[in-house]
């Protein structure tokens, strides 16, 4: 294998390039991505970056790394087409780049709900450094922010805006916060935490349109019931859609993401996919698509190992997630969806730990400001509940005796 092309310069694409070199790949590595600049971390954009404004602190690696590692970075360059027969990627400028293996790390883009006036000046979204820079500049002059979407991004922003003394209304269509990601018990805890920060939260409430002022600028959100929520900054945080178009146009199977097998290969043995865009066989035996740094990074490492080592194991990393909302670090080990049993463990200090079970085995653990319990939980996913009951659900104790997690 001489030449590997990676489409996507986010954390997953960057990790794939890094891991290939660590695994000893000596051929050419070309990264192609439409965002300008060096690969950077997105998670802090809605957290630490908003406070510090320090963009350099976001860089995953300095420029010198790419030079030293002979990784060619074509930033600000959109891949236009994959020619699977010729094994070439064509970029928008017409250049063609041959590959022996292609890694699709195209990630996701923000979903734009079909609201009238969504393009009005003043409507913000948050995914890229450019988005974050713009919001950060505006926040200093914002009096009231209206957030559509009560997921991680919307709530991280809300907490940060409250800390900057901006009043905030969050509009969430579902009956609870972060409904896709956490248990109802954790949703409820965070509802109260955001109330205590002074955030107004409208659950089970549909946005109907972006309100505009006489100049056509965004001035708030009209709700489906006709009520109006006025605000000088409107943030749309209603989830993402995977960037599957390149793959789909090349004839690869796509179903809520680019479908890959247990080794993260697409239908085409010369093409892998990773991270937010990849729908891979999950722990419950059906395909899942995870929007997380963990999936991006662990997928990337797995693909690099598979390309460079003779007999690879199937991908089996435990998923984990985190969200910093004000002073509250929410951490999730495992997948909380489809749980059929739940145990809430009160803690001597701080918030309770929530254990979620599926068919008698530990499926997920949710914690707030308890990193040690979270780390233990990551080793214990899939442990039978009887084993945990036997040690009185002391996860840290149980983890010390558990077998190490497969990598």
């Amino acid at each position: 294998m001489q030449r590997i092309v990676i489409i996507g310069t986010g954390q997953g694409g960057q990790q794939a390039a890094t891991s290939l070199r660590q695994e000893g790949f000596a051929g050419e590595i070309l990264m192609i991505g439409d965002e300008p600049g060096l690969p950077y971390q997105r998670p802090p954009l809605s957290k630490a970056y908003m406070a510090s404004g320090d963009a350099d602190a976001l860089l995953l690696k300095p420029a010198a790394f790419y030079e030293r590692s002979s990784i060619i970075l074509r930033d600000g360059t959109r891949a236009a087409r994959i020619d699977r027969t010729a094994q070439e990627v064509e970029t928008e400028d017409g250049a063609r780049h041959g590959y022996d293996h292609l890694i699709l790390a195209t990630g996701a883009r923000n979903f734009r709900p079909p609201l009238p006036n969504l393009d009005a000046p003043g409507v913000a979204e948050l995914r890229t450094l450019a988005d974050a820079e713009s919001i950060r500049r505006r926040l200093a002059h914002t009096r009231h922010a209206v957030v559509v979407g009560g997921g991680f991004i919307g709530l991280e922003f809300a907490a940060m805006a409250r800390a900057a003394n901006v009043s905030v209304t969050v509009i969430e269509a579902a009956p609870r916060l972060m409904a896709r990601a956490v248990s109802p018990q954790m949703s409820d805890l965070f509802l109260k935490l955001h109330w205590s920060m002074g955030t107004e939260i409208l659950l089970g409430t549909m946005a109907a349109a972006v309100m505009t002022d006489a100049d056509g600028n965004a001035a708030g959100i009209t709700l489906a019931d006709g009520r109006e929520v006025a605000g000088d900054l409107v943030l749309i945080a209603t989830g993402v859609r995977p960037n599957v178009e390149l793959a789909a146009e090349a004839g690869l199977t796509c179903r809520n993401g680019i479908v890959v097998d247990g080794s993260l290969l697409t239908d085409d043995p010369a093409i892998s996919a990773l991270g937010d865009v990849a729908a891979f066989p999950g722990p419950l035996g059906r395909h899942v698509r995870l929007e997380s740094v963990q999936a991006a990074v662990d997928h990337a490492r797995h693909i690099a190992r598979r390309l460079m080592r003779p007999a690879p194991q199937p991908y089996a990393s435990v998923p984990w997630f985190w969200s910093d909302q004000g002073k509250h670090k929410l951490q999730i080990a495992g997948l909380a969806t489809d749980a059929d049993d739940c145990i809430v463990l009160p803690q001597p200090t701080g918030e309770p730990v929530i254990l979620l079970f599926k068919e008698g085995c530990l499926a997920a653990v949710e914690t707030i400001n308890a990193p040690a319990i979270h780390m233990s939980a990551r080793r214990l996913i899939a442990t039978p509940s009887a084993v945990l009951a036997a040690c009185d659900y002391d996860l840290r104790q149980a983890a010390k005796t558990a077998a190490p997690v497969a990598h």
Binding site: P62, V293, V297, R378
Partner: protein, 106 residues
């Protein structure tokens, strides 16, 4: 401010860090192999594990809350001088600090 990293194989790398910058950040920014910092300093991952040189152990201070629990999850041996380098910030007392790197972070 100067930080010297000594890799498990003995290779020394000296880098410049800013006051207030974490040792993890300085390592990543200066492309030092052996510190990953996967979570960006959120105390989530234990991939910035380091050993503070004995001579500097007092100056770097105590482990933060939760740090020792996270270190339990580190890939390499945990020693009394083990720290998460994201939790050590550069200050005047740490000018010239010497940091030993573990064999592996994953």
């Amino acid at each position: 401010m100067k930080i010297t990293f000594i890799a498990a194989d003995g290779t020394e790398t000296a880098v410049d860090a800013a006051e207030g910058e974490s040792i993890m950040r300085a390592a990543v920014r200066n492309d030092v192999d052996g510190i990953i910092g996967e979570c960006g300093g959120s105390m989530m991952c234990a991939t910035c594990h380091c050993y503070v040189d004995e001579a500097w152990a007092d100056a770097t201070g105590q482990q933060e809350d939760g740090e020792s629990d996270l270190l339990d999850c580190a890939a390499s041996e945990v020693r009394p001088t083990s720290r998460l380098s994201c939790q050590i910030r550069m200050s005047a007392e740490l000018e010239g600090v010497v940091i030993h790197l573990p064999e592996s972070q994953l």
